[in-house]
Symmetry: C2
Subunit: 221 residues, 2 copies
DNA sequence: ACCTGAACACCGTTCAAGT
DNA sequence: ACCTGAACACCGTTCAAGT
């Protein structure tokens, strides 16, 4: 008679940090970071919402754990070689990781990094720069510039791709371009196609990365 | 006798788009974008939450309006001059705007831009590049690279600055650096000071911007 | 046209309590 | 130690209704 939709009490040790993190990640990938909630995660795991607080003190701490999980899973450091190659390998790898996991991108874009999560990649990159002859200061600056460039490029690409996913978004983008007056913005109108193509893609990323690397080379003299 | 805390009915035309947008902006600046809510905005304006839906179809549309308001308020385009100067002026101006308005930064980092909001700045920049001799394709790519670089750099800087605001955040950052094993990450440990200084600041931004500009110059031959 | 309250279907998190 | 339900103080938005 008691067909009240009440869950059976979950047995002890149903949960553990890994299970929570991987399930959270799966939910985030499936429905987007904004749709993710502690309560939906608890439901997916078959426990009450408060069960999770034994393992994580807050939702933010859970985000950090998901981020560290993703950053730790992939080796971003590269084989030895000229510094330009090391830069290219690490930057490309990071971009790939971020595009494969939009939720990681959004977490990085909303919370600070403490540093140890990416220490291996930083070590490879910064060592390559130092061995190539960059000063301590320039090596550190180049490293951070690289990172912020990849972050911004991937963030923009991911956002614009999402907008282009549905036909309504594509319509909005096209409508905006067509609404621009050729009298006020002649060059923008002339470059409409080219500008729209630069909102993402490997070619755009490589263009930026190459310019950045080329711009660092003079610092070696 | 009816001292129930009930608001007087707001007179007609208490609201208008500008008032809503500027009040929303003030709230976002005061308490942060994440703390901002439609309900808190309504309370601040002395109306019921639903009154706002006469002017904006959703919270997202309100975000877009705040973004457009901020982008429209500042002239980002520059006086004529060599393309390197134009690039520098526009990039620096955009960074400044983003750092002054962290909520604008967060909106840009979470929603796509349609384009007309920044058309004036884009026009100036892209025209300068075309007149300097860049191809259509390269001018467009350079423009977007610049934009994504500024976005990433400002986003990171703003986030790390926030973390450094409270002593707890500073402690976390320091603790992480000190926890890194010098055996595993010798170069990172050696560059700890330099790396920590690159998390923001004018010098770091100029370093990146200069490298970027220098990296574009070879494309003119 | 412009503003209203009530209601719906959610949130994250605190607290005291069960096992 | 690990999981629970109830409760608190919120959300954004729909709906039908007032003026």
């Amino acid at each position: 008679m008691s067909d009240k939709p009440t869950r059976a009490r979950a047995p002890r040790n149903t949960l553990n940090p890994e299970l929570i993190v991987t399930t959270a990640l799966a939910l985030m990938e499936a429905q987007g970071l904004e749709a993710f909630s502690v309560r939906s995660l608890a439901k997916e795991l078959g426990v009450g919402p408060m069960a999770l607080y034994t393992y994580f003190r807050s939702k933010d701490e859970l985000f950090d754990a998901v981020r560290d999980h993703l950053l730790g899973a992939r080796r971003l450091s590269a084989a030895r070689g000229p510094w330009q190659e090391q830069v290219r390998t690490i930057a490309t790898g990071l971009r790939q990781l971020l595009l494969e996991h939009p939720c990681l991108l959004r977490i990085l874009a909303s919370r600070p990094l403490k540093g140890q999560e990416t220490a291996a990649a930083t070590e490879t990159l910064v060592r390559a720069l130092r061995e190539a002859g960059f000063s301590k200061e320039n090596a550190a600056r180049a490293h951070t510039m690289l990172f912020t460039f990849v972050l911004g490029a991937a963030l923009w690409e991911s956002q614009m791709n999402a907008e282009k996913q549905d036909r309504e978004g594509r319509r909005r983008l096209r409508a905006t371009m067509e609404s621009l007056s050729a009298a006020d913005y002649p060059t923008v109108v002339d470059l409409a196609d080219e500008l729209s193509r630069t909102s993402g893609g490997d070619a755009q990323f490589d263009f930026g990365l190459n310019a950045l690397i080329a711009g660092l080379e003079p610092l070696l003299n």
